[in-house]
Symmetry: C2
Subunit: 378 residues, 2 copies
């Protein structure tokens, strides 16, 4: 059965004074208003680590209570930094499988309550325990990936700088973004080293925020065409190649197969750029260009809003902010808003009838791809 | 589409030296052996609070890696103390909806790594924040429920003692149970007060443990006939009546409707007796007897293995142990093993073709009912 995104909601990204339930309620209320408060029979809540980050458990009951959704079945869904994408896949399954008529999918994270080093320690728990125990962190392993990638293709750090510049330029147009001031390549290159070659402005920021979609049966302006998930070895050291993410390649292949589409038919994408080099790898992994070619796409403007293949027109994780369990669903909201011509100042010109969202769980151990497209309502 | 439990696995309950991933792998390996290691395309992991209790995140990736399930889609599912039941419902949705051919559902919890008071604090986070902040704990609120229930129906604490005696008698037959020594009513009545009228032996114990089921398409000896979920106000003070759990009544009604069955057609049940008085309320809420009648059922032996309606023949949460995120799936394993005549020393005599499992999330804010029955394989 076809499923479409009937309505969307977002809670602005950045350091927020509100708690997680309030942020989820803010996004949820916007999505519910969008369907005229029609009844919801399924509530799926995506979140990575409310227990560890904020001492909150039983989140689904809390938000159901808050939104008055006492008739809704459902549960919380977690898949590390891809929790938002996983919650979307779970919601689609409920509606497509017939157990739900109309589902509300929420995803959010509240990260700014703890000091940055404690947040980083929680995020590092997504890594293989063996690697975490010898001191690996997300940025440290991402730096290894970046280093090997740049070396393999004879690139300099400027290739990553261009990704950040594009993300921050796009985010300046996004009223919900955490970073609304563009940066220059020189500023990126001069920013504080985090784990070289990664500098501060190559890394997405700790954020609060939430997203919501209402899913209904049948086709619509933002219809789910294909979904795919893929895995890779949890230990990065066990992987044969770290210049590509096997988990994305498998997820994309499955999503294309389900959608009966090939890569050329995708018009734009939201990619998981938690670190700038990931955007390069992601673009190659979804098959838009070949290995080592992505840097040229970013630097030439081909991925800009007016380019051949717009990427992260809402600013991506780098510009929009990365509330970790929310981002996968934020991507879906942004793709759906483009398809529904609701993207405001970020609306793409011309025909962009099929969009793709790609989300990374942990250090690319469990990735998700979702393809949405315009179909005529019945 | 029909779905059946094709195979089951358990990791023994109690204080275990192994970590959570090892316990999940132990249960999972048993279930995978049971189907001859046929390929799994979906992995759902139920767990309440691995982050808060053990500093573990990204559990699904860890266990997929450990079991070599690199082709499986899926995610972690959480619904407080009903996480195991929620994971089962999510797994059934994946197979029934057609996105999975064969799903492995795992659920587990590792609780004994922390001191008891810290575990209790994590569990209390399932309550309404307003009630938690004024010092309420699970046992404290359960004691209020017990007190009102006993008073309403003119019962004494002996009604609860009988529930514990039955649970511990049953658990003595269960090789996986945490408590294999029966207790007398006098011992229950003399046990340490926790929150009167609740004494130590009226309360389920902190446990480690895990469960697993493999779900396949089509009918079988343990076919899913009906599933239902129900909610109630998170704040206990907002409920009109605390001698019954609205969330169970709604979940049961929905499960009966989906199964096209009435209460009289259910032969036995696994009920969520985290506290002894809950078993009384549960039996009434699933409609086996009327309000205030359950105590007579337990004290007369009607709920014993050879009674009219056997309850918790594997020992329940009170006798078997309550690894909080696992218990809802443990119940499913026990029902399925009865239907598949695999219950060993706990096997019920006679015809017991339809069983029910009932799981409570938080303080009965989000409850789950599942009905399984024997159907001829096609």
């Amino acid at each position: 059965m076809k499923v479409h995104v009937a309505s969307t909601g977002l809670a602005r990204f950045g350091k927020r004074s509100e708690g997680l339930v309030e942020l989820l309620a803010e996004a949820g209320a916007e999505a519910l208003e969008g369907i005229g408060r029609k009844p919801i029979d399924c509530l799926i809540v995506g979140n990575m680590a409310a227990g560890s980050l904020g001492g909150e458990e039983n989140l689904t009951a809390r938000i159901a209570d808050r939104l008055g959704l006492d008739a809704a079945s459902g549960f919380r869904v977690e898949a590390a930094s891809a929790s938002g994408a996983a919650s979307f896949h779970a919601g689609v399954a409920a509606v497509a499988g017939g157990s739900s008529e109309r589902a509300l999918v929420l995803a959010g994270e509240k990260m700014t309550s703890l000091p940055t080093d404690q947040v980083a320690a929680v995020l590092a728990r997504s890594l293989a325990p063996s690697e975490m125990q010898i001191g690996a962190t997300m940025p440290a392993l991402a730096a290894v990936v970046a280093q090997v990638y740049l070396h393999r293709y004879g690139l300099e750090a400027e290739a990553m700088d261009a990704v950040t510049v594009a993300a921050r330029t796009a985010a300046a147009q996004n009223p919900n973004a955490q970073f609304r001031v563009p940066v220059t390549a020189a500023e990126v290159a001069a920013s504080r080293p985090i784990a070289l070659p990664l500098r501060l402005l190559h890394c997405s920021a700790i954020s609060d925020g939430a997203a919501a979609v209402v899913l209904e049966r049948g086709p619509g302006a933002a219809t789910v065409l294909g979904l795919g998930q893929g895995r890779d070895a949890l230990q990065v050291v066990d992987r044969s190649d770290i210049t590509t993410f096997r988990a994305t390649r498998i997820a994309a292949q499955r999503a294309y197969e389900m959608a009966h589409l090939n890569r050329k038919q995708i018009a734009f994408a939201e990619l998981h750029d938690a670190f700038a080099p990931f955007a390069l790898i992601d673009l190659e992994d979804i098959g838009v260009c070949g290995p080592g070619e992505a840097a040229q796409w970013f630097s030439s403007g081909a991925t800009a809003p007016n380019g051949r293949f717009p990427v992260n027109v809402s600013g991506g994780l780098l510009g929009r902010g990365h509330p970790v369990g929310a981002s996968g669903l934020v991507q879906i909201v942004e793709v759906a808003r483009q398809l529904r011509s609701e993207a405001g100042p970020m609306q793409l010109g011309g025909a962009h009838g099929i969009g793709l969202a790609q989300s990374i769980g942990g250090l690319a151990a469990h990735n998700f791809v979702s393809i949405l497209g315009q179909e005529a309502a019945e």
